[in-house]
Symmetry: C3
Subunit: 175 residues, 3 copies
């Protein structure tokens, strides 16, 4: 099954966006300077900023914000209302009162590896790495790296050993 | 007093949506396959998916996501940025790498009873039932059923006995 | 450096909005009855309600909701998906079942002082005051006043003494 390729006429997609084949984009989406891989689906009210890269066959759900400096590999699920962060100490202005521009703060990168799944309402702090097939619980605030296949939850997010998935997709069998 | 019936020209409303009389819909709302009861008000940036049902005289505030499988009875308040969930272990793809479709996961239903109030930023996990007149605090992550008239808060949300409302709308008298 | 003045044609801006010079407004923004100061930048999917006032040189990031009764002074950073609240015990309807209007509940004001920074995903309860240059961590739920220069985090948000910034913008030097 391939996602039905469809791009809403109510989406704002800048000319510099790279879209793979079969990409599905819902209404009220805002994209600029980013790349979206084949067959990836973007939900309503999603924004993806410049220099963010999303792989193939991902699902990025409604109300989610993917900022500059985030790389999401293939087959990643990102829930609704997920927020990525790239600035550890954000300020509106410099000390002289001028509005901050890109040159006034240090962008920290975030990397989400293949097959990971990020629950709705999670917040992913800057500079972290989320391992392959990891599961991040809904509402978690992720402040440090998440190992591959781990399950993390809470604020701040911590590994839940009892729920860890030792063998890849095994967690799906319980459905 | 009846809500002034008004539907923003900037809303996306699919042909299969059932709208009651006197419904108010703000800008940048996305609705498909759902039903909205009489005099209910939907705020900006709200999405309501197929097979979600919202009763009469509800208020669904901005930035809120109501997914398939959610039923909201009459006179319910849903705050801003509230997220409902219907998939306990979401994944972008199946084990063979094909994008997941509706047939590839088990939808779990959520039911919010009459007169309940869900605070802004709350996350409602799948499969729960929120009782009549219950109050869910802002930012709560609701992982289990909420009794009628109870007040719950926190992550995960727990009942606060001292704040419980024993007699329906009594809580409003303190305003 | 001054922000490039630009207002998206995809924004909804009511006739009664007061916009300062050099204001930047992204796509899918909804403004009514509010005032926005000089050189302030509003991100995508932001709503600012009537009787909310935002000062000069602020940055209000995507997916954020600023409600009636909120005053934000100059040079304030508000992250992505931040939610302000103005009603302590919201209900959809009155006891007689009629939809609640503005006259049916008590609005509580919130004041954010100059130079404060509110992390992404934070929830600011009604009736609080955020001091000058204070930093609110991502995902915090702020339920009480935040002192000037303090750093608060968590749900509910509490001061982190070890991170407090004693001398204004000192925190930025660590970047």
């Amino acid at each position: 099954m391939t996602a039905r390729p469809e791009i809403s006429p109510c989406a704002c997609i800048a000319d510099d966006v790279l879209l793979g084949e079969g990409v599905t984009i819902a209404a009220f989406v805002n994209l600029y300077g980013c790349s979206i891989g084949h067959d990836t689906r973007l939900g309503t009210f999603v924004e993806v900023q410049a220099d963010a890269h999303i792989g193939a066959r991902c699902k990025i759900s409604s109300h989610t914000f993917v900022c500059s400096g985030v790389t999401i590999e293939d087959e990643v699920f990102v829930g609704h209302g997920v927020i990525f962060i790239n600035d550890r100490r954000p300020r509106a202005t410099n000390e002289d009162g001028t509005p901050q521009g890109p040159q006034d703060w240090a962008l920290e990168h975030t990397l989400v590896h293949r097959g990971a799944s990020i629950g709705s309402g999670a917040i992913i702090m800057c500079g972290v790495e989320v391992g392959e097939q990891a599961l991040i619980g809904a509402g978690a605030v992720v402040t440090r790296d998440v190992p591959a296949n781990a399950v993390v939850m809470g604020q701040p997010a911590r590994v839940r050993p009892i729920l860890s998935i030792q063998e890849g997709r095994k967690g799906n069998e319980a459905r």
